[in-house]
């Protein structure tokens, strides 16, 4: 097992180096002078320019700059934002819990609904339930979620007036946020109505972000289940006279879950891409909106390091999923 983990880890190193090269190269291939770009429209004096050039290291050979960049990264130095003047890492850590909370709720919705629906659809293959849910899943899979979010706002916020349009919590509430998760912090604050406010802000964005993972998980669960139900050992279990519940629950479901868990893990990248759109629509103060804002504000240090941090997180989650996969499926581990 340790050999398996080490193998997977060593496999990641070249990818990680590649990601740093992309993030490093991103600022270099921008059209125009990076220093002038960072200076923005205000411009700067020649002395200031030379000083910036030297301070940012643009006067040295590119490989030296890259190594220095790597060195800084390894020491947790991700550069400073031009707009907030704060270290990018600290901005990231402030905003990340918001995205995490949203993504977490979304994936829970997707798994809790998607897996049972997929299993039922497979068990009742060809029934109206199967046909309706799988049509709905394909619609969900085809959904432009930025539009879906706007529709939900029109209906639930505009017409019914049930949910707020944007933000994480009503401005009426103010309390310290030790965990960064609004649902938990609002409970800890003990203020009346704070939790309800946080939850009502979270509902629509979570549904929007959950839509595509939900569709993918339901479809994948159904097809994995169908494949397993056709296997010989399931037929044997049935022939032995085991109850249908036992056959499905013990023999089929457990094996069908293997590809489903991989699918769930792969949704992390989808969630990150979805967070960009969802957070923009709902003005959710997470890293997706942060990235979009930074791109339009030309805050390149943020874009550069945000890209790196997000890719790093996706990579680590995928590694964990890979390891889990090896844990539940010995065939992978020993191959």
């Amino acid at each position: 097992m340790i050999k398996f983990i080490l193998g997977r880890l060593s496999y990641l190193i070249p990818t990680f180096i590649g990601i740093t090269i992309v993030a490093f190269g991103f600022v270099r291939i921008l059209p125009g002078d990076p220093v002038l770009l960072m200076a923005g429209e205000r411009g700067m004096t020649p002395e200031h320019y030379a000083d910036m050039m030297q301070r940012l290291g643009f006067d040295r050979p590119i490989w030296q700059q890259y190594l220095e960049y790597l060195w800084k990264l390894l020491h947790g130095n991700f550069g400073d934002s031009i707009v907030t003047k704060q270290p990018v890492l600290s901005d990231f850590l402030t905003l990340f819990p918001a995205t995490l909370e949203l993504a977490f709720c979304a994936i829970i919705i997707a798994v809790v609904i998607g897996v049972p629906v997929g299993v039922l659809a497979a068990l009742k293959r060809g029934s109206w339930f199967d046909q309706t849910t799988m049509t709905a899943a394909l619609v969900g899979y085809s959904m432009p979620i930025f539009w879906w979010g706007l529709l939900l706002i029109i209906f639930f916020s505009g017409i019914l007036g049930w949910t707020p349009v944007s933000g994480r919590i009503s401005l009426l509430y103010y309390f310290p946020t030790p965990t960064g998760f609004m649902l938990i912090d609002s409970l800890l604050s003990g203020q009346k109505g704070a939790f309800a406010s946080a939850a009502s802000h979270l509902v629509l964005p979570s549904i929007v972000l959950a839509t595509i993972p939900l569709a993918v998980i339901a479809r994948q669960t159904r097809s994995a289940m169908l494949e397993v139900l056709g296997e010989d050992y399931v037929r044997t279990a049935r022939a032995k006279g085991l109850s249908p519940r036992r056959v499905v629950g013990v023999h089929a479901l457990r094996n069908a879950m293997i590809p489903v868990i991989t699918t769930i893990g792969l949704q992390v990248g989808v969630l990150m891409a979805g967070a960009i759109l969802t957070e923009t629509i709902f003005s959710w103060p997470g890293i997706g909106k942060w990235m979009v804002d930074s791109i339009s504000r030309r805050d390149y240090p943020v874009v550069q390091s945000g890209l790196l941090l997000i890719a790093g997180i996706v990579m680590i989650v995928n590694l964990v999923v890979d390891l889990l996969y090896g844990l539940i499926n010995p065939r992978i581990r020993h191959s």
Partner: protein, 301 residues
């Protein structure tokens, strides 16, 4: 199907037979057939857009701002689906928008398919360090969430439809490269390839004439998925202001312009999104049908 193409160029009879077999399985899937008809209608609409659209999609009618669709109070049959905030006919913009979406899909799939096939063939066929370097580069591209990478690429290249298409093509290309490579590795040591090699076929011929035709099925399925994915991503980029720029009647860009009216004029928001959804859905339905018809594993049932 794979076995039928064991010879390099199948006889015309075999090819017709393959097509007939494909059609037989494709027809089984009703959704796929509906999707196909819708897609054909959409292509015709896009081609005939100047004839079908009642108005010019860019001309603004200052006397008719935010006119609702004709069945609502205050709507007129002059603007069947209403007008937007600057008085442009929504129906005409939607009809012209189909041109953009289909064009985006075709360009992105062509670039990423051709690029991915060449890269995947080279990696799978030559193996060794070439394979390793290529696949690590693909891994790096896949490590980024696709929309984020496309967004950053567009920020580098500058906003606009062409750059958005290039960015999306770069992001979706690794899927084709991986699929091609996997298929090539599966086919490379089969007897028919060995036979062609012994018969003196060159590397190019082996790659493109002998091996490639037998790897096409998964690529075709991936191509439909990428087609719909490209339309969605381009619309998302347009929505974020990084894709097609106003006044282009691209569906995502239309949505971005309509955002501030969501609580006042539902039609400017609802209709372009519905157009995206239905188009993407039709293509995905077709993709499902193609997969079922081309995947020999599912055929036994």
């Amino acid at each position: 199907m794979a076995d039928a193409t064991a010879t390099n160029t199948p006889a015309p009879g075999t090819r017709r037979q393959m097509l007939a077999e494909f059609w037989f399985y494709f027809r089984e899937n009703r959704g796929a057939v509906y999707g196909m008809w819708f897609f054909i209608a959409l292509v015709i609409m896009a081609i005939l857009a100047p004839l079908l659209a009642p108005h010019d999609p860019i001309i603004q009618d200052r006397s008719a701002l935010l006119v609702p669709p004709f069945w609502e109070d205050g709507g007129t049959t002059n603007y069947l689906l209403g007008t937007d905030a600057v008085g442009r006919d929504i129906l005409s913009r939607l009809i012209f928008g189909a041109r953009y979406s289909l064009f985006i899909g075709i360009v992105v799939v062509t670039i990423s398919l051709v690029g991915g096939i060449v890269i995947g063939l080279v990696a799978g066929f030559f193996g060794g360090w070439i394979d390793m370097v290529i696949m690590r580069v693909m891994d790096v591209i896949l490590a980024f969430p696709s929309l984020l990478l496309a967004l950053v690429l567009v920020a580098v290249l500058g906003p606009g439809l062409t750059n958005a298409m290039i960015a999306i093509a770069i992001v979706s290309q690794p899927h084709f490269a991986r699929l091609t490579r996997a298929a090539v590795l599966g086919e490379k040591n089969r007897e028919y390839v060995m036979a062609a090699r012994v018969a003196g076929a060159g590397k190019m011929r082996l790659m493109f004439r002998t091996i490639l035709p037998n790897c096409l099925a998964p690529l075709i399925v991936q191509a439909t998925l990428s087609f719909s994915g490209a339309i969605l991503d381009a619309a998302a980029l347009g929505f974020l202001g990084m894709g097609a720029q106003p006044p282009t009647p691209e569906w995502g860009t239309m949505l971005a312009e309509a955002r501030e009216f969501i609580l006042r004029a539902w039609w400017v928001v609802t209709l372009p999104g519905l157009a995206i959804l239905v188009t993407v859905l039709a293509i995905n339905l077709m993709g499902d049908g193609l997969r079922d018809a081309l995947d020999p594993k599912l055929k036994r049932s």
